[in-house]
């Protein structure tokens, strides 16, 4: 079969082919205008993902929002931030924040009523003899030093505020701005920065803005900017390289067109099919571009090398296509398999990324096959004159540096196979050690360089406060519900105890007990039982004299206690258990601070008893807890309680402030909590679950890692099968897998060795490496076999291989490596480049070794 017949149409009707290609890419490209941008890393999880659903449920149930943390630090003023000038700025920023909204979409705004700032938090405080007062912590900016210090002292004495709103050294203060929508964070930060710009700088205040939504949203925005810079840069780099290789400007425009058309059509199709432009998919162009030109480079390289001897473009093209058709098809198929395997990950944006890169690669292949020949046919024959290594004999043809190095390398592999083998083994062993050292960790804030303002803010604020990363530990009662008989039994037992207390109780208790029996037999549900019984006791109570009235009232109390026993977060024992858990959390070193309903109860109880230290504790009865809590609700912001407990008191939220957003740290906290709860069973059955952005990141990154591993293994298998089919030999197929396996091992070994953490970009790298590294093996092996057939001797074949086939491969390695270097300019993902660079170089080195091995 002559592969060249596939290009007959391009050779015969180059203009028609070109026109059709342009038309299709224009149609697809037009869809790009429908683009919808999505910078939310939360979308790394499917919307149906359990933990995500729970996270949103928690946010809704406890009225929690994603929060921007705005910090002000004053290291120079003796009173720290608690001086009138700084507090005036704080007050101004608070008022400014209340109105902060997206000008284009006012629904995206700061949730005014949930701002935590000195001017918006209520404080319970002593107000003279035996009086308490609910007062805004900072009703208006202070005018005197005394007032400023009073604000500090009040904040410091409130455990809910200390370490959250004010730093313990008084030098820093934080405002927490909840957002109605996370993707408003970048815009909000910019508006705040503008406002801060207007402040006189003479007061020694430094302002910082951080928080996960800011980091994530800003990252998204900056990522797009970088992609917009990097993709064209990659284009230019590739163009210059090819110019260097092939010298003919007119000729190398064709691969650029292939790359452009591939990228535009792929992006158009992706957007046209309703997908959002996510952080992941924004990387498609820069991935696709170098890969798209690879096949063209093979064609041009071969054309470049053979045209001078054939001197007829049609015949040259036919010859080139016969040589390259199969390897190009298979390399494209394997790269496609590498990326398509990402569709197996459970992470939607990665799936989209994989599928469309895969599509783009096949499209680029098709374009290369039909467009490059058409393009060459459309060139004037005289423009090709002098093209290639013209007029010289083959032996002395290539005296470029690359040719000489390759020739030397060919000799080296042939003569020093054992050394290469040994070196590879050593490299593998070191890699194995490196891989064992890999730590899986990520933190969106660390996607920024160390000197990025967000990263700086993160460091500074976390040194002053309990932490700017939020996680929510949700506790929920898991007590079983009783049936009517069980309920009645419980009430009966309580009434019997009550009866035994005093003689007066006895008579009424026995009456009450008969009411219990009646209600139990007439009711169909525990609720009905309670309602019936309550009504009947109230009737008795209304008819009773003063003394009996009170006793009847006591029975009502008892009944209510039994009925409300599922309101576990009014139960002092449960609150103390939460207290113990919180104390334990502080010992983890990661949790800087935690707030819970227990803290509220303790603080209110203490203030009710004249702020005496010994009353800073959970009171002893359910009613005392309930009455402390209802006292709290006499404040300006009673609903603040519902951030920490649901109104039915069945669920509580321990709000954790973490000093680090690293997955590892969050995971450590999760494990420690599991351990604590296992070792210290709660007084009632409690379920615990996590929510919050910091935790969400852990979940999707875990999925990412395991998903990537699965997809990598499966694509590894697919590629192996392809290799075996291509070479019609399992042995050759297996051998083709060796270089890429070693390459990947070395890359990951290196990542482990240099201490780079396995994070999102590194995970994506594996599929890229797999897809590309195998390309070189295919080209090398396929063409080695062809040459062997022609030459009849491996020694001859090898010498031939290190001429033009090796040059083509080397050119590609360099294009790919250079094509990704613009990413180096992007501070967000520099390691990708390093990885790819190494991948390419290693791949070629190892192929040469492999080839030698087959021979011997």
């Amino acid at each position: 079969m002559k592969a060249s017949r596939f290009i007959n149409i391009s050779l015969d009707k180059p203009k028609t082919v070109t026109a059709i290609i342009m038309l299709i890419s224009l149609i697809l490209g037009a869809m790009i205008v429908k683009v919808r941008v999505d910078t939310d890393p939360e979308n790394m999880l499917s919307e149906q993902e359990g933990v995500r659903i729970f996270h949103h449920l928690v946010k809704k149930e406890f009225t929690l929002h994603d929060v921007i943390v705005l910090g002000v630090v004053n290291e120079t003023h003796p009173d720290g931030v608690f001086n009138p000038a700084t507090l005036k700025h704080v007050q101004e920023l608070t008022e400014f924040s209340k109105k902060l909204a997206d000008p284009d979409d006012p629904a995206k705004r700061v949730v005014t009523q949930n701002i935590i700032a000195p001017g918006t938090v209520d404080n319970i405080e002593q107000a003279g003899l035996g009086q308490v007062r609910f007062e805004w912590l900072m009703k208006e900016a202070p005018t005197s030093r005394e007032q400023a210090l009073a604000i500090r002292d009040n904040a410091m004495s409130n455990p809910l505020l200390k370490g959250t709103l004010v730093s313990e050294n008084g030098k820093a203060l934080c405002i927490y701005l909840p957002l109605s929508s996370k993707d408003f964070a970048y815009n909000a930060r910019n508006q705040l920065l503008e406002k801060i710009e207007t402040f006189a700088a003479d007061n020694g205040d430094t302002f910082y803005i951080t928080g996960l939504p800011v980091a994530e949203d800003t990252f998204g925005v900056e990522m797009f900017v970088q992609m917009a810079v990097s993709a064209p840069l990659a284009m230019v780099a590739i163009f210059l390289l090819m110019l260097l290789f092939f010298k003919k400007m007119r000729l190398i425009i064709s691969p650029m067109i292939v790359a452009m058309v591939s990228v535009i059509s792929t992006m158009g199709l992706m957007i046209g099919t309703g997908n959002t432009l996510h952080i992941m998919s924004s990387m498609i162009p820069i991935f696709l571009m170098p890969i798209a030109v690879v096949d063209s480079i093979h064609i041009l390289s071969e054309f470049f090398d053979t045209y001078p001897s054939i001197q007829d473009r049609r015949k040259t093209l036919e010859h080139v296509m016969d040589q390259l058709f199969m390897p190009m098809l298979y390399t494209s198929l394997t790269s496609t398999a590498g990326f398509a395997s990402l569709a197996l990950t459970p992470i939607p944006p990665v799936q989209i990324f994989g599928i469309f890169v895969a599509f783009g690669i096949m499209l680029a292949w098709l374009l290369t096959i039909i467009f490059i020949p058409a393009y060459i046919m459309m060139m004037k024959e005289e423009n090709l004159a002098g093209f290639g290594i013209a007029g010289k004999s083959k032996a002395g043809a290539n005296d470029t540096l690359m040719s000489r190095i390759l020739r030397w390398l060919g000799g080296f592999t042939y003569n020093r196979a054992k050394i290469i083998l040994a070196l590879s083994m050593v490299a593998l062993a070191i890699s194995a050690y490196g891989i064992s050292k890999i730590t899986i960790n990520d933190n969106p804030v660390k996607w920024f360089k160390k000197d990025h303002p967000i990263r700086v803010a993160d460091t500074v604020l976390n040194s002053h406060f309990g932490g700017t990363y939020e996680a929510y530990l949700i506790l929920e009662t898991a007590e079983k519900e009783l049936d009517i008989q069980g309920t009645a039994k419980l009430v009966t037992r309580q009434f019997e105890n009550f009866s035994a207390e005093t003689q007066d109780n006895k008579e009424i208790a026995s009456e009450a007990l008969s009411l219990v029996r009646e209600a139990a037999s007439s009711s169909n549900s525990p609720d009905e039982f309670f309602n019936t019984l309550t009504d009947q006791i109230e009737e008795k109570q209304d008819a009773a004299d003063d003394k009996a009235y009170d006793i009847w009232a006591d029975t009502l109390d008892i009944l209510a206690l039994v009925k409300n026993r599922d309101q576990v977060f009014k139960n002092p024992e449960v609150l103390r258990y939460v207290e113990g858990l919180q104390e334990y959390l502080l010992k983890t070193g990661v949790v800087g601070k935690s707030n819970s309903v227990t803290d509220v109860v303790k603080k209110v109880y203490q203030e009710l008893f004249e702020a005496k230290q010994e009353y800073y504790r959970v009171p002893d009865t359910v009613n005392a807890v309930a009455q402390s809590l209802i006292s709290f609700q006499n404040s300006h912001k009673p609903d603040d309680l519902w951030h920490l407990v649901t109104p039915d008191y069945k669920k509580a939220n321990i709000w954790l402030q973490l000093k680090s957003g690293d997955n590892q740290d969050m995971e450590a906290v999760v494990k420690m909590v599991d351990k604590y709860i296992a070792e210290n069973p709660p007084p009632v059955q409690l379920d615990h679950k996590w929510a919050g952005l910091t935790y969400l990141n852990v979940v999707w990154q875990d999925k990412m890692v395991s998903g990537m591993l699965n997809s990598f293994l499966s694509s590894f298998g697919v590629v192996f099968v392809m290799m075996a089919v291509l070479f019609r030999s399992i042995l050759w197929g297996g051998l083709a897998m060796v270089p890429l396996s070693v390459t990947i091992a070395i890359i990951y070994g290196l990542i482990g060795l240099i201490g780079k953490e396995y994070d999102m970009p590194v995970a994506v790298l594996s599929s890229l490496t797999l897809g590309l590294a195998v390309d070189f093996a295919i080209h090398f092996l396929e063409r080695a076999r062809m040459t062997f057939k022609k030459m009849g001797s491996w020694k001859e074949a090898i010498r031939d291989m290190f001429e033009e086939p090796a040059r083509a491969i080397t050119r590609n390695v360099i294009v790919i490596a250079i094509g990704f270097t613009p990413l180096l300019a992007a501070p967000l993902v520099p390691y990708q480049t390093v990885g790819v660079f190494l991948a390419s170089i290693m791949a070629t080195l190892l192929e040469t070794w492999l080839f030698k091995k087959i021979h011997t």
Binding site: Y605, S628, I630
Partner: protein
């Protein structure tokens, strides 16, 4: 009696007035409207008793309930008043009492009795615009906004209402920038009040939902406060309303906090 819960309205009775209404000629003066509203909603008896069931609904539709009895006695018509609020539900706050001695010429005296803590606590009068036991009503709605705190003007007279706009004299002392109040032209009952926040957004509405005649007094038996920002509301329903029940002044003293008067029973 329930009117005490509508007191931002009764507070009207005690206002300082400014009449800049352009249509003053056809409408009574602000002074007169306020006086009549004051009469209609305030002088309905020397004392009163009512049982209130309050349903607090939050933005998620979660409901909480408060039940309590209110006793009120006027020391002098248009002058000082005494309130005794005795809680029945939720059951874990039963017997809790909130007591107010409302004064016109000085800060109110306020007490809170917490039975489970066996504690009587004075509450400083610094800021009355705090929540009443977690509801959307404010303490100031219970004991009444002071007579001289706002300037009022008649801004409109509609078919059935006089519309007044009230602006605080000390804007820093309150969270609103102004409120508008609709007063029924027939019986001078305040029907609705809307509050604007400092940004000029309407954030709070207080409404009389149902008015009944009780012992000859037009009486609000159902009222509602809506929070337009956080999206929640509290509805109060009044039952067993009685005027002129003959409450003794002595029951409004600290002594009765721990030992509630018989009048809180039915």
């Amino acid at each position: 009696m329930n009117r005490i819960f509508f007191t931002l309205l009764t507070a009207l009775s005690l206002l300082s007035f400014t009449n800049n209404a352009p249509f003053a000629a056809e409408s009574p003066a602000v002074e007169e409207i306020v006086n009549k509203a004051n009469l209609a909603s305030y002088y309905g008896g020397d004392d009163g008793r009512a049982e209130i069931s309050m349903t607090i609904t939050d933005s998620q539709g979660r409901k909480r309930n408060r039940e309590f009895v209110i006793l009120r006695k006027d020391i002098k018509d248009g002058g000082d008043q005494l309130f005794f609020v005795y809680f029945k539900k939720p059951s874990d706050v039963r017997k809790m009492v909130f007591m107010v001695h409302k004064h016109l010429d000085k800060d109110d005296d306020r007490w809170l009795y917490l039975p489970a803590l066996d504690l009587v606590k004075r509450i400083a009068a610094a800021d009355k615009r705090t929540s009443f036991v977690g509801s959307h009503f404010l303490y100031e709605d219970v004991s009444g906004r002071s007579i001289v705190d706002d300037n009022h003007e008649l801004i409109q007279t509609t078919g059935d209402s006089y519309v007044l706009k009230s602006t605080p004299k000390d804007p820093d002392s309150v969270e609103f920038s102004s409120y508008t109040i609709w007063i029924d032209r027939n019986n001078y009952m305040p029907m609705k009040a809307e509050y604007l926040d400092k940004e000029g957004r309407k954030y709070r509405t207080v409404e009389a939902l149902l008015i009944k005649d009780i012992q000859g007094f037009p009486t609000v038996v159902k009222s509602r406060v809506k929070d337009h920002v956080a999206k929640g509301e509290t509805v109060s329903e009044f039952t067993n309303i009685k005027y002129n029940v003959g409450l003794a002044e002595k029951i409004f003293t600290e002594r009765y906090l721990r030992r509630p008067p018989k009048a809180v029973r039915k």
